[in-house]
Every structure is written in structure tokens, then in C-alpha cells.
Symmetry: C2
């Protein structure tokens, strides 16, 4: 009988092992994909692509027991050679090739010059050939940073006593209803894809006090802009026993501080590749919605067209204002108009035209919507009635409040938008692995 | 201007703070939901439910500045009192109540006796009233253990050099095709919900070498059994540069070892609540599919009806056999018949009726399917042709191989099934927050 006893250390070494001093001067085995081959007369540089970066190998005629022409770009190989220090090579290491074992060969020449530092290719082409274009080291680095953000979200919240939940994406009814729902047939019953885990995470506050979820959400919106997706990853949290919606903004600030520290600690290489300037998170200004509109109207001589709505250009100007006046990368805009918020939002008891809610702008783009929710059963029923909404399909949601719920609130963060602003891309599709939009359903 | 500077420490204390010695004899504030009130004549026990557990409070007439009747079960409160040591109370602490601030009141009496240790309620009723039934401390503990498992999966894989990815759930085509797909209208185009991230995670192996995803998958199967769900959380990984499919089984063994350690370290309370016996993960036997069938046929005098299929009862017997003969909780069954595996599975070069694949059984239930995949472009095209499958919709997937791919493989773990086997439930709906099955689309 064979037994599995755990992860096996394999003989080929990883890049981080090669960059230390342990193996200099020694014969080692390394595997990877042949990223590029540069012929220089008697010698050739064969660059291996590994998950941690690139390794320069040197092929010298006579020194190796194989012919250079056996190697092909995009082949995957296991090579043996002697590791040497070489200041001009990436990472300061170079491998003098002795022998090779071909693991796999490509069937065609690469359609994109992935070995160039910047991939000079249209967004369309990049997305059509995602599994090739992301082999470019700079392109793939965006998604390592994205990993750092979602990982930071979870690790921070575990430490803050949150419980991770998994709520269903197929349902009979969704949080905000309306026209932006994808509809499907569920064993001959009409069903929708959830546009948000909103109702579920609220229901779970009565169980776990603090919950979070990192999962896809689906919006059938017919927007075709640089900042909209029809499917995206939402970082959601919901917390009970709050004293006010400021507690939720404070929690998000804490997350951002934690995430930026994590990036600096564990993703320094990727930050460097994108020359990311870590945004300031120590003091994030919070400004009322109506006041923010006034401030940008005054400073940039812009007429307020609709006092109850915020246009994308106004968001940009608010971002600019707070960068200029306070050197702030983020700004919380609070007290959004009640009309613009869903039924479950808590109205401001001092002025019910506004809500105890907020958006977070990052360099002038909304990356978060959050706020306090109604926790009183009767107040919730009245709000539904006032909006002319039916209770049908909301029975179990409403019952949750009937049987007692603490004051609570939460937020949702768009992961792809947060990544986009961090690296400074100008289209959210650039920071989405496989974007879904009005025209794109493949690959 | 107001500024957010990070998480604010609130005055009310958490249970873990109260269980230490720092606050004994002191006046403290605590918030929570009133789990139950037990009247004992002159005094009453008011038990608060908090996210970390229960806190016993004592109400004594004259000692408190409020009347007992002001308190109601399911109300949420912030109480002030003096903390005392009390061996008979849960956690050895008791709070002598002085004053109360009511945060919220319920609108109706609780429909379930959630304060009982075991909730004697049908599964149907529990699921219909999920946000109430999970307020039972034992019920909710299952989902903390579930959190520990998914958290362990991610933390282990980050450390093993895997990159986390987020692949789209709406697509034009899915991995295995066939009849078990939910279909929807995507802006007047036919689309499906992904039954697995299979094709995407393979495509990303060419980019990141090692990837994982923890996300929902959707299966329109008309099974109505205790182990099937139509939507579940799949823990998926895919890794390149493997020497054989044993590397994948070794990685899964490593994950299980890590996860069980994490549970013991961070989820001891929940393990205790469910009296979980941690399964053995140090040596997991691996047995060939055909050999496993023979072994149980011999030992339990069971006729082999179909040599190329494994019935659920056979899985149970394999689990029993390895428990009896090797005291094993898990067993890898390897070399599944090619007919039973999808087109991308790598056939065994020594006998192409079988594949280089495996299932992992936990106490006789399949919780994982995995294996080595075809990485050669021509071999993949031939397999598609042999199966009479079209390449339509698979263009970008196939191109990935055309431009070179390392030998690779991976697996998918059903999170709800893994949780079910760990706590010893007999229906996977018991370990699913909001199950979706043939008849259940709500709540």
C-alpha cells in the first residue's frame, strides 16, 4: 500500500532559493518556461519564466551537452547548470547551462511579444488572448497585487472577529430588485443571480455579529464605461453593535491600513514593477455629500445641476479637491440622499432626505458603498410600504428583524476597481482576469 | 473636517477579554443579544449571546437600577455590571447587573427554542428559518469550522507559492458541457453558469504556475440526495511542473494536515462543541480504483456489477475497509476509468482505459476529484475528436496549449461535504448556509 504523507520537496529549486547565497557555485536543477532566447554569437541568453520572476541562463557552445536549437520559446523545461553571481542579470544570478530536459513544446510561435517590458497591444487583443498576454511579467503582477488586497481584507477581518460566510448566488429575489438582474430558469422556476449578498449578510449579523464575504456579484446593467463590469468580485462586510455609521468607515480605514502594510511586506516586487505610490491611509477625510458638492462648485466654478445626485465628473473633482487641499488619496463622502439609496438604508433622523451612509472615493472614483441599515422591524416595513415595494420574497429577511437585530451596517468594495486605482490603470477590464461586459462573454 | 484614523476600540468588552483576570471585580460594559432569561425567584439569570459565546449575567432585585420585565429574550442590549468569578457559569465568569441600555427590541416571540443545547427541529424548519435557527450556539459553530477549513486552504496555498484567482461564473461555454448547466440570457446571448473553474484555472497555470480559487460553482443536476447541492463552494487548485498526479495528492494531504492544525489552534471551542475527532492525515493510503473494488468485493462478499463504475455503497465500503484495515479516515482512490472522466483528463500511458486521476474519500464519501491533465496541444485535440466534441467555444482554451503549457494537474474540494464529514452530519444541507436544491430556492 502506498501512503501520502504530505507535500514533497522536489529537486528543482525556486527562484527565492536561487537568489540567496546557498547555491552559488553549485550545480542545481531549475524548471520553468522559456520566456525568451537572445542569441549573442558564441553564447545565448535563455531567460526562464518562473512564478516568482525571471532567471537568466547562459548557453555556451561546448559547455552544454545539448544543441541550442533544441530550445524553443514557450517550451517548458527542466535545466541543470551551475549558479553564478552576475550583477548584470535580473536578481544578480545567472545559470550556466549544462543539460536540459524538455517537459513540453509549443505547437506554434507566440502571437504576442510577451517578453517585452510593456506589452504594446490593444486591450481587446490582450483580453482575447488572456492566457498568453498575462505571461508578460508586468501584466501578471497586477493580479498578484489584487491577491494581496483580497487577502488583506480577509486577514484583517478574521483578526477583528468577523466570520466568513458563503451565501447563494442563485435566488428567488434579490436585494434591490429592479431591472439590473440576470434571470435564469431554475428547474422551471424563475430565478435571479444576486447583485449583492446584502440581505444574506444582514441576516447573518443576528447570528455572528460580524460577517464578511468575498465573492462574485452580477449586475445586468447596460453601462458600457471604463469603470463598469457585469460580473465582479465584491468584498462585503456587515457588523452589528455599531454606535453609528462612522464605525464602518473606521473599519474600512483599518482594512486599508492593514492591506497597504501587507502589500509593502509581501508584494514589494509587484509594487516596484508598477511603481505604485502607496496611498495615504492614516487620516482619511469625511465630508458630507451636500458640503462636498458646494466645495467643488466653489473651487472649480461648477454649477450644481442636481443637488441630490453626484455625477462621475463631480466625484473626480471631489477627489482632486481633497488631494489639493489635504493631500488625501481617499475621501469618504457621507449622508447620501435617501432617494439614491436602497430601502434598507437608515435615514438620518435629523433630516430624512439624507441617509446615514457613505461612499469611499479613491482618486475620485467610487470604490465602496456603505452605511447603517434599518434594524427595527416596523421601521423596515414602513419604508417598504412608503416605497411601494412588496414584502413578497422578503419574508425570511423581514422575520430576521421581527425576532430582534442589533444596530448594524456594512459596506461593499469592488475589488477590480480598488486594484485599478492602486496600479493606476484607466479601465477596470485591465484589472479583471476575464471581464464580462455588454459585448464580452468569452473567453 | 472630520478624519477617519482606523479601527476604534469601543468601550463594551468582548468575551475573550472578560474570561481573563484583568476585569474580575471591576465594573464593565458588555453588549449582546439576550439569549435566554431564567427566573429563579429573587434572582434571574440573563444569558447574553455574543459572537465568541455566552455570558451569564445575574439580575438581583435592588442591585440593579431597572426592572427585570424591561428585558426581553431576543432584545439586544448594552449592560453595565460587576464581573465576578463563578465556577458554575460558562467560562467561569458572571456579570452582576447594574444597569441596561436597550439597543433594540424584537417584535414577536422566538419561533424556535434556540437556547436549548440541541435544536430539536426538522431540517426543513431549520432551513426555512435559517437566520433564527443559526442563533443556536451549536448550529452556528458548524459554520465557524467551515471558515477554518477554507481559511486553512488559502493560507496553506499562499505559503506554497499559489496565486489566488477570480474567474468568471457567467460564460459562453463550460468545462464539461452537457446537461447539468444552468442557462441564462446574457444581453440576448445564450450563456451558462460555470459548473467548475476548470478551464480557467488550467489557462492560468501557464501564467502563475500554481493557482487556486475558492468560489461558488453551479450544477443543474436533478439529484435529490443527502450529498448533492445545485450550488456549492468549490476549493480548487491547479499546479504546473508536476512529476506525476501523486504530487497533487501530496499537496492535498499537506492542506489537510495544515487545516487540522489550524482548527486545533484557532477553533478548539467549536471542535469541542461538536466533539470532533480530528481525522488522521499523517499517512493517507492510496489504492487503485480496480484494486479497491476487488478488496471490498472480497471482504464484504459483494459482487462487482460494473468494473468501470463506483457506486455510493462501494465508496462507503471502501471507507469502511480502510478504517478497519489501516485505521484510515481518508483514502485516495486512483486511476479512475477514462470513460468516467472529462476530456481534459490524462489517460494512463500504461493502460488508456484508465486515467492518472483520483478521488479522495473521507469516511466513505467523495470530497475531492482531481488528477493530471493533458498539456499537449495535439493530444488534447485528438481526445476531443475521439469523443466527438466540437472545438467551438474552446478556442482560447486550446490556444493556451498551442503556445506551450507545463505538465500540470489539480483538484476540486466540496467545502460543504468536507464540513459535513468533519462534524459528522448526515445531510450536506446541514453544513450549507443557504442550500440550493431541486425544491429549495429560498430563503
Amino acid at each position: 500500500m502506498e501512503f501520502m504523507t504530505g507535500v514533497r520537496k522536489t529537486e528543482p529549486l525556486e527562484l527565492s532559493e536561487l537568489l540567496g547565497d546557498d547555491y552559488v557555485g553549485q550545480q542545481v536543477k531549475v524548471n520553468g518556461a522559456i520566456h525568451t532566447i537572445r542569441h549573442m554569437g558564441e553564447v545565448a541568453f535563455v531567460v526562464l519564466r518562473k512564478r516568482e520572476g525571471l532567471l537568466q541562463c547562459v548557453y555556451e557552445e561546448g559547455a552544454a551537452d545539448f544543441l541550442l536549437k533544441e530550445l524553443k520559446e514557450a517550451a517548458t523545461v527542466e535545466v541543470t547548470g551551475v549558479l553564478e553571481k552576475e550583477d548584470r542579470a535580473p536578481g544578480g544570478r545567472e545559470l550556466r547551462l549544462k543539460s536540459v530536459k524538455i517537459l513540453s513544446l509549443p505547437d506554434a510561435a507566440m502571437p504576442l511579444a510577451i517578453a517585452k517590458w510593456k506589452l504594446h497591444t490593444s486591450l481587446e487583443a490582450k483580453l482575447n488572448m488572456r492566457s498568453v498576454s498575462l505571461r508578460n511579467v508586468r501584466e501578471r503582477a497586477k493580479f498578484k497585487l489584487q491577491e494581496g488586497l483580497v487577502r488583506g481584507f480577509r486577514d484583517f477581518l478574521y483578526a477583528q472577529g468577523f466570520t466568513e460566510i458563503h451565501t447563494p448566488k442563485i435566488g428567488a429575489k434579490s436585494a434591490e430588485g429592479g431591472s439590473n438582474l440576470f434571470r435564469l430558469d431554475y428547474f422551471h422556476r424563475p430565478a435571479v443571480l444576486q447583485q449583492s449578498p446584502q440581505l444574506y449578510k444582514q441576516m447573518m449579523v443576528g447570528v455572528f455579529d460580524r460577517v464578511f464575504e468575498t465573492a462574485p456579484v452580477f449586475r445586468a446593467e447596460k453601462h458600457n464605461t471604463k469603470r463598469h463590469l457585469n460580473e465582479y468580485t465584491s468584498l462585503d462586510l456587515e457588523m452589528g453593535y455599531i454606535e453609528g455609521f462612522e464605525d464602518i468607515m473606521a473599519m474600512e480605514t483599518g482594512f486599508l491600513q492593514y492591506a497597504m502594510d501587507l502589500l509593502k511586506r509581501e508584494y514589494a516586487k509587484e509594487l516596484q514593477i508598477w511603481k505604485v505610490t502607496i496611498p495615504k491611509t492614516d487620516r482619511i477625510p469625511a465630508v458630507r455629500f451636500d458640503r462636498a458638492k458646494e466645495l467643488v462648485s466653489e473651487k472649480y466654478s461648477r454649477r450644481i445641476r442636481n443637488p441630490f445626485d453626484l455625477e462621475p465628473e463631480e466625484e473626480l473633482l471631489i477627489g482632486r479637491y481633497f488631494k489639493e487641499e489635504y493631500d488625501a488619496d481617499f475621501v469618504f463622502v457621507t449622508h447620501y440622499p435617501s432617494k439614491k439609496r436602497p430601502f434598507y438604508a437608515m435615514d438620518d433622523p435629523e433630516d430624512s432626505r439624507y441617509t446615514l451612509s457613505f461612499d469611499l472615493l479613491y482618486h475620485g472614483l467610487e470604490i465602496t458603498t456603505g452605511g447603517q441599515r434599518i434594524h427595527d422591524y416596523q421601521m423596515l416595513k414602513e419604508k417598504l410600504e412608503k416605497r411601494g415595494m412588496t414584502e413578497e420574497g422578503l419574508e425570511q429577511y423581514l422575520d430576521t428583524f421581527r425576532y430582534g437585530m442589533p444596530p448594524h451596517g456594512g459596506l461593499g468594495i469592488g475589488l477590480e476597481r480598488l486594484t485599478m486605482q492602486l496600479v493606476g490603470e484607466d479601465n477596470v477590464r485591465e484589472t479583471t482576469l476575464y471581464p464580462r461586459d455588454l459585448s464580452r462573454l468569452e473567453p
